[in-house]
Amino acid sequence: MYPILEFEGVTKEYRRLIGGSFRALANFSLEVQAGEIFGFLGPNGAGKTTAIHLAMGFMRPTTGRGSLLGKPFGHAGTRQRVGFLPENVALYPRRAERLVRFYGALNGMTFSQLQKRGPEVLELLGLQDDATRNVSRFSRGMLQRVGLAQALINDPELLILDEPTSALDPVSRVRVRELLIQSRATGRTIFLSSHLLSEIELLCDRVAVLHHGKLVRLAKTAELLQSSEQVEIAATGVSAGLFTGAVAQNGLLRIVVPRDQQRATITRIWTAGGEIVSVIPQRRSLEEVFLEVTAERPSNTATGGQ
């Protein structure tokens, strides 16, 4: 079984007429497996969009290579099985339903397939009432939903989404989130680049963090959030006064302690006649992890002007 999306030592340099070149990606390697929702994070200018554009064949790597659904980047036929939503959605000024059908037809869908699938995807994204309106009159959020509709029209095996919910209202955001979870349940793979960390935290099975064009963290989301240095110990039958910072609630005492004090704290509870109910590694938010990982570190990615 081949990886759905693979980067192998990919470097991308943008050459400038004056001032050398700028390295957007440096020896970047990554594998995305089938059936996962993969979160792709990084601060602005980290190289996320460059990586996505390389995968879609919009540009060529300076060195290295990669594959999309088992075929090298840029293979046009493979894109028939891919749905792509760019960061800034730019669409032709047409009626939403016609536009979605146009993009489906570009992917080789037949008229009858489009007649069935077109209204389906518009309804999935809550655009059924606006299907006959020209998208040039749409709000940014609605445009983003039409962009998602054109990405979903061919029922793709792989969805590559660059900031898919950045302009959406909370209701639409939930709708899209459910749609993505549903897609994963049917075996689809989703490569999701987003700055909305709470969303990544909720949706993604694995997360990669890119910084200055380099992969700085790759882990399962659950592991990433649990790799804290603190644990929460819940106990009964002990007084809160024995432990500083302990919180008592409904007869349960909760104590957060550094991991290296875990054993000593448990021993103290037992000695005091208490019972341990649970010992849970403290969860961090993805935001904390992100900030820690992307804390400014020396960069040598710029080889020229930058």
Partner: protein, 237 residues
């Protein structure tokens, strides 16, 4: 083929306003046909017809040189090329779109020319031969400018196209050998239109037309090769 056709039709749709402006010139000819006495002022009518005819070549250069730039600047190209559309097919769609836009103009001008010039004694078959020459010139000029636009901005692409189109004319003028005009026969084809008259038959050899079609294919191939190496997601500003 379906994708090529879709891109071509979409191109014409996107360029509907410039095409409409072009057609206003044809309307001018139709107005002259209505307001003048065709038999007495036929030379003036033919002059306007020739003038209106050659405008379309300039328009096709404009279409070709700006097509990719506009799509890249608006970032709409990403949504198209994220589908199962290879870059050479995308270019084929644009060439076909430019050809469609030029064909609409040539067809309309052909109809108006047949009516206005036909009633003053110009053979209708000659009008349509001139339109075929004009269309062939437009397709070649549009393809050459599209090729230049794969690596130059529209202004320079249009300039480079004009220079390349003008070289055979210059060679013909300096050497006195008219065969130079067949090298890149846009000038030769325009000359057929410009030299047409009531006295001599305009229907001449088809060689420039055939050469124009063949050279369009060659320039399309070169454009596709260059375009396959272009980073299209990079800002064109």
């Amino acid at each position: 083929m379906k994708a090529i056709l879709l891109i071509a039709v979409n191109f014409v749709r996107e360029q509907r306003w410039p095409i409409l402006v072009m057609l206003l010139w044809v309307l001018l000819l139709a107005f002259l046909g209505l307001s003048t006495e065709a038999a007495r002022q036929r030379e003036d009518l033919l002059f306007v017809f020739k003038q209106v005819a050659v405008y379309v070549v300039a328009f096709s250069v404009f279409f070709g040189s700006s097509a990719i730039y506009n799509e890249r600047r608006s970032r709409r190209i990403l949504s198209v090329l994220s589908k199962a559309v290879a870059r050479d097919r995308y270019l084929s769609g644009l060439v076909l779109g430019i050809s469609f836009a030029s064909a609409i103009y040539c067809f309309t001008l052909g109809l108006t020319g047949s009516w206005t010039l036909g009633q003053s004694g110009f053979a209708v078959s000659e009008v349509w031969f001139l339109m075929i020459c004009l269309l062939a010139a437009c397709v070649l000029a549009g393809t050459v400018s599209l090729m230049f636009s794969t690596f130059l901005n529209p202004f320079f692409a249009a300039g480079a196209t004009a220079a390349l189109m003008g070289l055979p004319a210059l060679a013909t003028y300096t050497s006195g050998n008219s065969h130079w005009g067949l090298a890149i026969p846009v000038y030769a084809l325009i000359a057929v239109v410009l030299k047409s008259s009531f006295d001599t038959s305009a229907v001449g050899p088809w060689l420039p037309v055939v050469l124009a079609v063949c050279e369009s294919l060659i320039f399309w191939f070169v454009a596709a090769q260059i375009f396959s190496y272009v980073d299209i997601a990079v800002s064109v500003e």
